[in-house]
């Protein structure tokens, strides 16, 4: 039976994991390779690393983390943050990641999706999208870039469809309004996007309890749910979450 995925997200800054609230106030939560190994053992289905290192000179640290993770962790993982050229994509893929996530760079230059997909396959190219509610937009949601700081004149639904047609293999959809709040995913946004595209959608932002995952995977029609704080701070384990999803008859890998 095809299963819904639990994706654990690790924000990495200069080789250390951090966690922020609404994209700000980052606190150190541990070593990314050790944490990845822990989540692998705990039953995470996939991992995502976001490189939030500001400077280009320190990119090498992240590539080193990717290489170490690939040597020890035998589940898929993707890398996002600061990916803006085909060479960036290549560096991450050759270091052992399955996928790369493009976000701001794809909004500025959508052809990176097309070129990345034709070089490495659609399955490698994930569109990361940060969106927030905005009644002025046709779908009711606006796309933001630069870690949620810059509002764009771009509708979230239109952008999702465009990315799919350019060859993106998956969308990680992050709600800026919900991020770090632990009050639940943005169900309406997730449902709208997931039901409008033919590629998998990973819901992100707002997870605080296993019930939130059940809701977004069912009502939100998400194919996968991304979690961070709720497991990083020890409130829940991946296993706790999967047990709950099983009771809700949501198929997961146990």
């Amino acid at each position: 039976m095809f299963q819904k995925r639990i994706v654990v997200c690790l924000d990495v800054k200069e080789g250390r994991c951090t966690k922020g609230i609404k994209f700000k106030d980052n606190i150190d939560v541990g070593d990314p390779v050790e944490m990845a190994a822990k989540y692998y053992r705990d039953g995470a289905d996939e991992l995502v690393f976001y490189d939030i290192t500001a400077s280009h000179e320190k990119r090498g640290i992240m590539i080193d983390v990717v290489r170490k993770v690939a040597e020890q962790i035998f589940i898929p993982f993707s890398v996002g943050g600061g990916i803006s050229t085909l060479d960036d994509i290549k560096d991450v893929i050759l270091a052992g990641a399955e996928k790369v996530s493009v976000n701001s760079s794809a909004v500025r230059n959508p052809s990176i999706i097309e070129e990345g997909a034709s070089l490495f396959g659609s399955q490698c190219i994930v569109l990361g999208m940060d969106a927030a509610a905005d009644p002025d937009m046709p779908s009711g949601y606006r796309v933001f870039i630069n870690g949620g700081r810059k509002a764009m004149d771009l509708d979230a639904l239109a952008w999702a469809k465009q990315a799919e047609s350019l060859g993106a293999g998956e969308i990680v959809l992050n709600s800026i309004d919900a991020d770090g709040m632990k009050t639940g995913y943005e169900i309406n946004l997730t449902k709208m996007i997931s039901r409008s595209v033919g590629i998998p959608v990973v819901a992100s932002g707002g997870a605080g309890s296993p019930e939130h995952l059940a809701a977004v995977l069912k009502e939100g029609s998400a194919d996968a749910a991304l979690i961070a704080s709720m497991v990083h701070f020890g409130d829940y384990t991946v296993e706790d979450i999967k047990k709950h999803l099983t009771t809700q008859k949501i198929p997961v890998r146990m």
């Binding site: 299963q3 692998y40 690939a70 040597e71 035998f74 050759l94 396959g121 659609s122 194919d223 890998r253």
Partner: protein, 200 residues
């Protein structure tokens, strides 16, 4: 010694990592001569069938894989490598290596399912050394938009269901093919690779 075929179709790092983790005796090469001398072969790959076949033709690696397969030595195709050992792929109407009879078809867009089939899915296998110590209905990691439709039931080693049942693994003599990625499927995947290393 296992030869891992490098035909520039995707990244071999994860296969490399998994085999290293299992202390497998292997090398990665794009040299047909060297690969033909190994005892076992792993034929991985992600990407697109047409371009992959172009590379396999121009480098002579396709002929090497065929020759290796006909020698009776164990061969394991993974993902695109598994599809390419069949006769034909609908992906850009590509004639493939024709080592196992069957076709590779696209998941129909009207099934109401997301394509690619990306994520974990359970498989049901028939008794083979490849699946030793792996529980039935274990989950494996898949990522593909095309699926294998084996022509003969006897070549179906495992089935998976995504809208329709399809060939998750195939077998013909010593030729094995997995649509899923054992190198990315956690413990059952590592066990499968271990079985290939130890039991074939």
């Amino acid at each position: 010694m296992i030869g891992v075929v490098d035909y520039k179709a995707g990244n071999l790092k994860s296969v490399d990592s998994a085999l290293s983790h299992l202390h497998g005796d292997f090398f990665i090469s794009d040299d047909p001569e060297k690969l033909l001398k190994c005892d076992k072969m792993i034929f991985p790959g992600v990407g697109e069938a047409y371009s992959a076949m172009e590379v396999l033709r121009s480098t002579g690696l396709g002929e090497a894989v065929k020759e290796f397969a006909s020698s009776g030595k164990p061969l394991l195709g993974i993902c695109l490598g598994a599809q390419i050992v069949f006769d034909h792929s609908e992906e850009r109407d590509t004639p493939c290596l024709g080592i196992i009879p069957g076709k590779v078809k696209r998941f129909a867009p009207d099934m109401g399912l997301k394509v690619p089939h990306m994520g974990w899915n359970t498989i049901e296998y028939r008794e083979l050394p490849l699946f030793k110590d792996i529980p039935q209905n274990s989950s494996f990691y898949f990522v593909h938009s095309y699926y294998i439709a084996s022509e003969n039931d006897e070549n179906v080693a495992a089935i998976c269901e995504y809208g329709i049942p399809f060939t998750a693994a195939a077998v013909k003599d010593n030729i094995l093919a997995c649509q899923f990625h054992p190198e990315k499927s956690g413990e059952p995947g590592l066990q499968l690779l271990k079985n290939f290393i130890e039991l074939y």
